[in-house]
């Protein structure tokens, strides 16, 4: 019986570890998982926005950065609020330059 419990516990651990390792394959996967667990964390939202921006997913990145900025202001996290604002400006510039090269925008 003890051996059965032991094998069951180790099996559950192995399964859960395998699932958790998916989060550590890329920045986007890591911060998507972080946002799912810590919805009120502005830092997780900001890091997700940065990861999305690297993939040129500007619309999703902007939405994540806006939420990060709002949460940071509500929680008095000045550092994250400033970084989110800077990212939003950068995203607007990046999207403007892509609009200028690709038409219609």
């Amino acid at each position: 019986m003890r051996v059965l419990i032991g094998v069951l516990v180790l099996g559950c651990c192995a399964w859960q570890t395998r699932t958790r390792l998916e989060d550590w394959r890329s920045d986007e996967a890591l911060w998507t998982a972080a946002v799912a667990v810590a919805e009120r964390s502005p830092r997780a939202r900001l890091n997700l926005a940065v990861a999305l921006e690297r993939r040129s997913a500007f619309d999703e990145a902007r939405a994540a950065a806006q939420t990060a900025a709002r949460l940071a202001v509500n929680q008095g996290d000045v550092d994250v609020a400033q970084r989110a604002d800077r990212l939003l400006i950068w995203l607007a510039m990046a999207q403007d330059s892509s609009c200028a090269s690709d038409s219609p925008c």
Binding site: L10, L21, R25, W31
Partner: protein
Amino acid sequence: MLTYAHSLTGGFVYEDARADAAPLVLTAPTWNIAPRWLTGQTYAWTTTLWDASPMAARVVSLAWHLLNGVLLWLVARAVVTDAAATFAAGVFLLHPIQTEAVASIAYRSDLIAACVLLVALACAMRGWLIPAFVIAMGAVLGKQMGVMAVALVPVALTVTRSPHWTPTARAYWLAAGFSALLLLLDHSRGMFFQRPEDMSLSIASGVALLARMPVPFGLSIEHDWAAFTPMAACAVVILAAGVLETAWRWRSRVALGLMAWIAVAWLPRVVWQLGEGLHERHLYVPMIAASVALGAALFPKGAHA
């Protein structure tokens, strides 16, 4: 190995790109010994002898984790049954809370400090106390907090009632440990003590992480510590004190030993200003004792599988 194999093809993630951790930056092995020297060298030698790719770095981190599992099994066999030691090593290797320390290349320092601690424990369990002390001091070459190995070895010897832990040995260890503490204080002059509210946050986040050990779901790099109000932190601390009192009343050596191990391992993180709360990777050393305690509970001496 099979469980972790899937993660080996991932890229550099989050703090892996940090200057002191990135294998791409640190390419030259050096003999300039300093705290974290061994950790830095593992990055440098991986790049020099193999590759600067994330896969190479992830394989090396996994190898350290597997080595720690074997060392834990060897140490645990000296104090618990073979079945308990095997189960403890299995839990230590496969528990999901270990993924942060193993999968992130930047947190290899925790694996190396734990490895040195386990070697020191193995020596101490055999009565080789002088080599054990020297090796325990060497844990700072993994990371600065590894210095707590000097205090964790006596905790293990006391809990396991080692015959080698004589009053004379205790006196010498205490004197040498005090010298080590003075060295640490000298080295950490730039650090400051945490404010009481930050200390309570560290304790509360630590207890919240411990609560995730038996039910390891919803793990994340970004725990929302902001959700912890001072009131919640106080409630958690009172709860922890209640558990401690119950263990003391029951005279449970395993439970008390486990709590002492965790308290000693986390003491610097609670006292000094080292960042925001505790994270999953900081459970790597506490998991050594937790795994053995769990093994001892499931396969006690005298019980038949």
